[in-house]
């Protein structure tokens, strides 16, 4: 199956949970990754229970924050 990740086609052999997809993509710090699946914002607490299917559009980014303290 083919999904789109950050604008690029990615081939998968089976449906994956977002947690599995993050591991597949070798993303560090999964707790700080936010995903958008078919325009729906998915927070880290939903990564294990949300699956991607053929044709899905996935975007991811890292939490960006900090401070002067």
């Amino acid at each position: 199956m083919i999904i789109t990740v950050n604008g690029d086609n990615v081939s998968l052999t089976k449906e994956l949970s977002l947690a599995e997809l993050i591991a597949f993509l070798q993303l560090d710090q999964p707790d700080y990754v936010t995903l958008l699946v078919n325009d729906r914002l998915i927070y880290p607490s939903e990564h294990k229970s949300t699956y991607v299917k053929d044709g899905d559009t996935v975007e991811y980014l890292y939490y960006m924050g900090g401070g002067q303290a």
Binding site: N6, D28, L36, L61, Y62, M64, G65, G66, G67, A69
Partner: protein, 136 residues
Amino acid sequence: MAIYLTQYDYDAIIEHAKQEAPLEACGLLGGEYRDSDAIVRRVYFLKNTDRSAEHFSMDPREQFGAVRNMREHGWKLLGNFHSHPATPARPSEEDKRLAFDGTLRYLILSLKAAQPVLKSFRIKDGEATEEELQII
């Protein structure tokens, strides 16, 4: 290695940060790479969802929107910026701890002195290295 920012965008970042002060201001930088240099083509001003004078968090939906706009223009996410209203332009421990992408530039604007100071850093594995920032 350097990052290039137009005078217009430089002034806009300072103006935005002054308007947001005493809260921290933040945003993203989209543009192109030329060899090892980064050329900023657009600055995206994002909400600081923390609404804090000492912390910032970007709104994920605004982040996705900005990155999508960059992709439409054929640009890359080059980095981000945030302001330090009352401290120097150097990464705090929190800035370093929360810098997850070693490929990005992290610009910090200090409003502590009368003359604002903007610096660019690469942060990898908790270590910050200043890099050249050219205003063009």
